[in-house]
Amino acid sequence: MPKRRDIVAIVLIVLPWTLLITVWHQSTITPLLTARKDDRRDGHSNSRNTFAFKDSCSLQNRDIVEVVRTEYVYSRPPPWSDVLPTIHIITPTYSRPVQKAELTRLANTLLHVSNLHWILVEDSQRRTTLVSRLLQDTGLNYTHLNVETPRNYKVRGDTRDPRIPRGTIQRNLALRWLRETFSVNSSQPGIVYFADDDNTYSLELFEEMRSTKRVSVWPVAFVGGLRYESPKVNTLGKVYGWKTVFDPHRPFAIDMAGFAVNLRLILSKPQAYFKLRGVKGGYQESSLLKELVTLSDLEPKAANCTKVLVWHTRTEKPVLVNEGKKGFTDSNVEI
């Protein structure tokens, strides 16, 4: 008899605790207890809308993106959304025969991206009419800046001297413009991405980078003499190294096109710029990133860095032999 009573007692003691523990496993409860007090009203008003979303969240997202894309096929640029963070694209450019072509096809790509702000910085003494007109005709939301690279920094002719990174001064000017235009306290969320005018970008890339909280990274094709370079991501979803052959021990062995930074981070670290002098080949990106973030803070995108969404294409320099010394074609015609 007492034995049974003991058993009953033990069961009665253990049962509620096991049930409690299984329930407590749902970690949603602890933050809920703190958040409930503030968002209670909002929670209730949205509960009808959000109730259905919990399960099919990802599906809805995909549906929405799909529908929006086909909707704006014939109306460009895509409508501005109040909800999405703005993507600020910083593109340095310089005059050469293929410039208009490159900017044209880059604009054709960017016209598909919602909430995009294109910051085009020319390497020139004055803003050229070619670029001004092109920007106006696209209908994009843009900012046109210019700064000339001093003669002793410029690349001589065609030789690619890696000690003189191209576009640095222009990118720094764009960063300064951002810091002068937006204040740290502004609530406007934004992402900053450095997009060179000859690369190729998939539309998926821009949606991946939109969720950047500090600095996000992903693979880039055709850099470092490889099919693609990518960050090494461990099973916990953290970056711990770089899958490259060219100097993998750089602090950030990544190409300019392989990362995006949250605007707030840029604004909160006003001293962070690309280093101008004494930068070894391939270290330009590190010179900025090491002021902003550490390796463990990086956010891997593109399915944990397994998909290639941006290609470091380079356009051949066109052979203009038949132009001769005086120029065969009418120089008034813009190309």
Partner: protein, 336 residues
Amino acid sequence: MATRMKLKLKTVFVLYFMVSLLGLVYALMQLGQRCDCTDHDLPKDRIISRLRGELHRLQEQMRKSEATKQPQKQPAKPSPPTIFVITPTYARLVQKAELTRLAQTFLHVAQLHWIVVEDSPHKTPLVSELLAKSGLAYTHLHMPTAKDRKLQEGDPSWLKPRGVEQRNEGLRWLREDRRAQPGGDNQQGVVYFADDDNTYSLQIFEEMRSTQRVSVWPVGLVGGMKYERPVVEAGKVVRFHTGWRPSRPFPMDMAGFAVSLKLVLANPEACFDGEAPMGFLESSFLQGLVTMDELEPKADNCSKVLVWHTRTEKPKMKREEALQAQGLGSDPAVEV
């Protein structure tokens, strides 16, 4: 003493039991209100619900604009003529990148039908998936080039004509497809040959839409010059401004002309001649279709450059090749 201890134990037990029961009941109450648990996801869900609202708004706008257009459009205004773009493509490292940015351009053009012809014995999954995800109206074909006509590694690009079989296959499909659907409306259209590495502005497609027979315009960065163009006098093409072999019947690049669908269908024998000497590929096709004075000049009497013959560099793969020799090459499963 024993009884008091016993009593104490009993109250302790009872108290403990009550407390744990209350805790459990509280937790179960939380469980019951599962919906509000999504509060911790609030920002995401808020965004989603707002996006949804915007989506509804945009759909309403579209429906409204269509509704207002409908009564005006009652007098049977035909849809703009479809532009059939024939693009030959072949597998190489930059293929996916080239097709991606080409698709991004085409997405802006209304009534465009993309005919992609692969130089391959069968359709590759890379191109199939790209086309399916592009959101464009497309036809996916394939036609391998005969081995002796194919460029080998290290051959300069001008050695053998490229894309001939593929363009002819595109024409063949178009002719067959239109024959199967008789009717005046289906003869409306424009055929344009767009290589996958060129750059196209959006204006060029609007310029070519009004083609009656064959229309022409300047092409940038081709023929060893900044641009090549037809010279127009009094609205007619009188000669061609080109630095290379101007004596050709039609000394222009593939990207510099478009043919009306009607003309293509009316001349079922017209196709590209792979045996033609270098630079005569375009002429071999156009000779049978039109004479020089019948050409329609576009792009502001051929004074504006709206398409560029850009070429993409072959990416340097020395390190990749070195790694592959060691068996440490990059994951081939990752599509580039």
